[in-house]
């Protein structure tokens, strides 16, 4: 392979990462922020977001693409937190309680999500996205009407003045940063939430271990080719459901970790963009719809959030309005997802064309792609 082709392949593979690094580095000087401040923010946001982004890995291994359905798990986590605040359970005990309340809800929602996705094979991403909207309606109904009317809420401070339904914003003061503050390391002027990072590290170890188990191998086989996996005796549908259930449960825990760090909960829309930002982060880290690793998660969270930290101030300095930076944040998030999907489709077509070319032999001349993916579970919406 020539050096030019190698460079071209490298650029096409890491285009999103390269573009992102360039934009972020270029935005640092106009933002006027110190490197120390940016690094501290990245450390905080790594602890806050990494768990949620790690929840996306297993469905990618199982060939189900980026799990936008993780929003369902986030809703389950929020329900758990509402109950923890209602019963006045504070500190890490409140977080464990929220997790224990959210866990069965997450399992149920994950199972429903898996069943639906099995009926929409090849279109898992858009199905998950729309399913999240549907379940959001049920969540709104539950939180707005059921809590306080059907399910009694003892803590009147969190209930709307009409007597039922939860207030728009919940103060999570009782559990605020209770996980982060168990052990807060101070190293070279940086604050590192040790326990949060230990939990994230344990999840990474779990993912590595899980990939080596029978179920993990089955998931990878299903992700490679469902037909081959089926003929090899792997219960394809069951394996896919398990992948989604694990992802939803991890999203539930991830949302609890996220919200304890933030310290308040926007009851009706905190989960709205959970999936969106997690997906954007893993794509920025160099993952694709079919391929992701733990390294992609951390690189993605660091890059995306470095951009989030610097962009509002850079926008303010360059254009005289911080809102430009806020718009930029949204634009970058959606732009990254769109760019990754386009690049994925382009690479799939290119691979198909190259495969045809190698079958025909060099004499046949260059082949023109017809847009069909080569094999496997490509072409997810």
């Amino acid at each position: 392979m020539s050096a030019q082709k190698k460079l071209s392949t490298l650029f096409s593979r890491y285009a999103v990462v390269i573009i992102f690094v360039i934009i972020t580095v270029a935005a640092i000087p106009p933002s006027g922020l110190s490197i120390k401040y940016i690094l501290q923010e990245i450390i905080t946001r790594l602890g806050r977001n990494s768990f949620l982004v790690l929840a996306l890995l297993l469905p990618i291994y199982a060939g189900m693409g980026l799990n936008f359905g993780m929003t369902l798990g986030a809703m389950a986590g929020q329900i758990g937190l509402i109950f923890a605040v209602n019963y006045g359970i504070a500190n890490w005990q409140g977080l464990v309680f929220a997790l224990l309340v959210g866990l069965p809800i997450a399992v149920l929602l994950g199972w429903v999500c898996g069943l639906v996705m099995n009926r929409a094979k090849g279109r898992e991403m858009v199905t998950g996205y729309i399913l999240a909207f549907f379940i959001n309606g049920i969540y709104q109904f539950f939180v707005m009407y059921m809590l306080g009317s059907v399910i009694p809420m003892g803590n009147k401070a969190i209930v709307l003045s009409r007597g039922y339904g939860i207030r728009n914003t919940l103060n999570l003061e009782s559990v605020r940063q209770s996980l982060d503050n168990i052990v807060m390391l101070r190293v070279a002027g940086f604050s590192i939430p040790l326990v949060t990072f230990i939990i994230i590290a344990l999840l990474c170890i779990f993912v590595v271990w899980f990939k080596k188990t029978k179920l993990g191998q089955d998931m990878r086989a299903v992700g490679q080719d469902m037909a081959v996996a089926e003929s090899a005796g792997i219960p394809v549908e069951k394996t896919r459901i398990v992948a989604i259930i694990i992802s939803t449960v991890l999203a539930c825990a991830g949302q609890i970790i996220f919200l304890q760090n933030m310290g308040n909960l926007a009851t009706y829309n905190a989960h709205d963009q959970t999936g969106f930002f997690a997906v954007a982060a893993i794509l920025v880290g160099g993952a694709s719809v079919t391929n992701a690793s733990i390294a992609n998660v951390f690189v993605g969270v660091m890059l995306l959030h470095a951009m989030f930290v610097v962009s509002p101030l850079a926008g303010q300095k360059l254009f005289g309005s911080a809102m430009i930076g806020e718009y930029f944040r949204q634009f970058i998030g959606y732009g990254v997802i769109a760019l990754s999907l386009v690049l994925y489709a382009w690479r799939t077509r290119k691979a198909a064309a190259e495969a045809r070319l190698s079958l025909r032999g060099a004499r046949s001349g260059p082949a023109k792609g017809n847009g069909k993916p080569a094999a496997g579970n490509g072409g997810q919406a």
Binding site: R48, N49, V85, Y87, G88, I89, A90, N91, W92, Q93, G94, V96, F97, L100, V101, G154, N155, A157, I158, L160, S161, R167, N168, T169, L170, N171, E173, S174, F258, M262, N264, A266, A270, Q273, F277, F308, P312, E326, R329
Partner: protein
Amino acid sequence: MNDTITAKSAPQSKTRRRLVQGGLLVVYILIMVLMIFTGRRHTILIDNKDAADGSYSAINGMEVSVDKQESAEYYPGDRDRALVQGQRHTIQVTIFDGNTSIEKTFTVPLWSDMMIISVPKMAAGLEPWIEPFTMAEQIEEAQESGPPAGEMSFQSMGGGAPEETEETLPSP
């Protein structure tokens, strides 16, 4: 032969699986209950006021700490609060006059949000020095007994309750 063994062991393994599942469910619920018992937060109001019937009088300067939290100074008419977690707690009182110390252990009922400790009552050895505190009852009592005396001050009352705000969340 093998078939017979498999046929016998199948219901056994099913029973064992059910037992394990049931055991896990019990452990799950037990952890939940444990979290409620150890994690439930209560507000303790520490009161240094005279009795309405004159049976005891406010302490003229003291330092109080609950569960080795940061101590606070109290003078006659003061009332402050401490947030505690769990049910069993210790209160330490150091009275400035004579430099005497009192240490008492008390238990807060699980579902009681707010309790009030009358330190003068406790120091006088009168029971009960710890009672449940309900805001509605206090308002009723205050309305019945008229406006509070001029020297009485509420450093802090209740609080900690989330307020309804419409502000947007910090960015993720």
